[in-house]
């Protein structure tokens, strides 16, 4: 399975999760796990997703999420999971 981690960091407001999950559904990306916290009014969300069946290539999803982040006033990043696995798991 081709997995990626999406992280969203920024000022909290209504509708961040809704906007991101709506976009993910639109491009057929399945959410596997969500972790969300608010620390000192900073919204932090870490999401594991399956990008195997995505209807757009990675680069386009990357750009779309960047744009969506700008609209929402947060930073959205998508990274393949290998970077985290290779750094933290032997």
């Amino acid at each position: 399975m081709n997995k990626a981690v999406i992280t969203i960091i920024g000022a909290d407001r209504v509708g961040i999760i809704a906007a991101v999950s709506t976009y993910l559904a639109k491009v057929n990306i399945n959410i596997l796990d969500i972790n969300q916290t608010i620390m000192e009014e900073i919204f932090t969300m870490v999401t594991m997703v399956d990008i195997n069946e995505a209807t757009k290539p990675f680069d386009e999803i990357y750009n779309d999420l960047n744009e969506l982040g700008k609209e929402l006033g947060v930073v959205i990043q998508i990274q393949r999971t290998e970077i985290f696995r290779s750094m933290h798991k032997i």
Partner: protein, 453 residues
């Protein structure tokens, strides 16, 4: 979630706040099969081969950057030492080859191409002589070509004729680029025991024992190490060393991942990951600041060599398990102009040329990016090179000298090269005449390797 949220956040924090990046993905390309009877045909074959083999280097690295979210600061090329493909050519023809290399670097979009080099530790071939003579003109006519000359090995001793020659050439290269502070010298390295698989510029070349093409990766991470050891202030050296080891492991895993991914996508063999801690002029990305964090108020003060020895050793121990193949220089770099803390240490008077020389006994890579007064004699530069090269030869390690006699500048002035090359305060050179020593010429014999004291 198999990976914990804390681990994900830690990785992202390292990249966004602590300057973790991949410093370079360097593609080594053999040019041996480009040799033709006619030198113009050789040049064309060189251009065509580099453009074909490295065509996808930059776009694939950029794709990896996006997908993994880790910056790859430099994409570069190293080639077969050019003297090996210049047989029969004169110095001006060699300089034309440098221009060809520059054009190919521009076409494929890399910022440096290394390997305008000669290996003369035992003596010169005619091609070596022609190429070495052409180095000042070649560097002055280009901005991306990097040159290196290996003047010594532990097995062969030191070619002092080459050392003498390099002093003269460095002066000439500085003079030819005096409008930019002698910047050509920032792309010229004099080596002892040069590694064949070094991905870092300006000393990278594709050694003769290397495959047709190869991907070598250099990681970075001084900022990450500094942040990690801030958390163990006051703890003893065991804790300090363990903390650095664990951090180096994580940094190197990034390099290994990118190296494997890049070589797979480019259909190229994976060579090595270089474990060097490579600083940049950015605040928070300095090796000097790590040493200061260990408890020495100013880098260069008493204790600096011991601190650097611990750092260098711990980085290697942590990194070695994180990568399947380790090579290149693999040690902490201490370039003056490329390290914000080193620059500050020189300005504060705590760091001298002599202390830097002592520090190179316990780390790679040598006297790196040192600016000295423009009126420094060629023989003094050769003598500084000889000292540094002797350290490498006797201790069976790589050392190098990248020194810039800045035209028109004196001690205390500052020369600015910009970008990753940074800026350097001009350092003082001890007043003494070494010309009779350098004029002797010949070779310093290889050192004995028993009775080690």
């Amino acid at each position: 979630m198999l990976i914990s949220v804390d681990e994900i956040k830690q990785t992202i924090h390292m990249i966004q706040s602590e300057h973790l990046d991949i410093r370079t993905v360097t593609m080594g390309i053999s040019l041996i099969d480009c040799i033709r009877g006619d030198f113009n045909a050789t040049k064309k074959a060189v251009y065509d081969k580099i453009c074909k083999v490295a065509e996808r280097l930059v776009p694939e690295c950029e794709a990896i950057e996006r997908e993994f979210g880790i910056p790859i600061v430099n994409k570069r090329i190293s080639i077969t030492p050019a003297a090996l493909i210049c047989g029969g050519a004169g110095p001006s023809q060699c300089a034309e080859l440098a221009v060809t290399l520059e054009e190919s670097a521009k076409t494929v979009g890399v910022n440096f191409i290394g390997g305008y080099s000669a290996l003369v530790h035992k003596g010169f071939t005619e091609a070596d002589r022609a190429l070495i003579e052409s180095i000042p003109e070649a560097l002055a006519a280009t901005t991306r070509v990097c040159s290196s000359v290996n003047v010594a090995t532990t097995k062969a001793g030191i070619n002092m004729n080459a050392v003498r020659e390099m002093g003269l050439l460095i002066k000439k290269a500085a003079e030819l680029t005096k409008d930019s502070g002698g910047s050509a010298c920032a792309r010229l390295v004099v080596f002892a025991n040069a590694p064949e698989d070094n991905p870092f510029m300006a000393g990278a070349f594709h050694g003769i024992g290397e495959p047709e093409k190869v991907i070598n990766v250099g990681v970075s991470g001084p900022g990450v190490v500094k942040c990690a050891i801030e958390k163990v202030r006051g703890e003893d050296f065991t804790v300090l060393a363990e903390t650095i080891k664990k951090t180096a492991f994580k940094i190197t895993r990034m390099g290994q991942l990118v190296a494997i991914e890049a070589s797979k996508r480019l259909g190229t063999e994976f060579g090595i990951v270089d474990l060097s801690l490579a600083p940049t002029p950015a605040v928070g990305d300095s090796v000097a600041r790590i040493i200061e964090e260990m408890g020495i108020s100013n880098c260069g003060g008493p204790g600096t060599t011991a601190a650097l020895a611990l750092l260098n050793d711990a980085v290697k121990k942590g990194g070695i398990m994180a990568s399947s193949h380790v090579g290149g220089l693999s040690g902490a770099f201490i370039p003056v102009s490329e390290d914000e803390g080193m620059i500050a240490a020189v300005r504060s008077g705590s760091l001298s040329l002599e202390k830097l020389e002592a520090m190179t006994c316990v780390c790679s890579v040598g006297l790196d990016m040192i600016a000295v007064p423009g009126d420094t004699d060629a023989s003094a530069i050769s003598a500084i090179i000889a000292d540094e090269i002797a350290i490498g030869v006797v201790n069976n390690k790589t050392t190098a000298v990248r020194i810039i006699p800045v035209p028109g500048m004196a001690e205390g002035d500052t020369v600015t090269f910009g970008g990753l090359l940074g800026e350097a305060p001009v350092m003082s050179v001890r007043k003494a005449d070494s010309s009779l020593f350098i004029d002797r010429g010949g070779r310093i014999p290889a050192p004995i390797h028993s009775l080690r004291n």
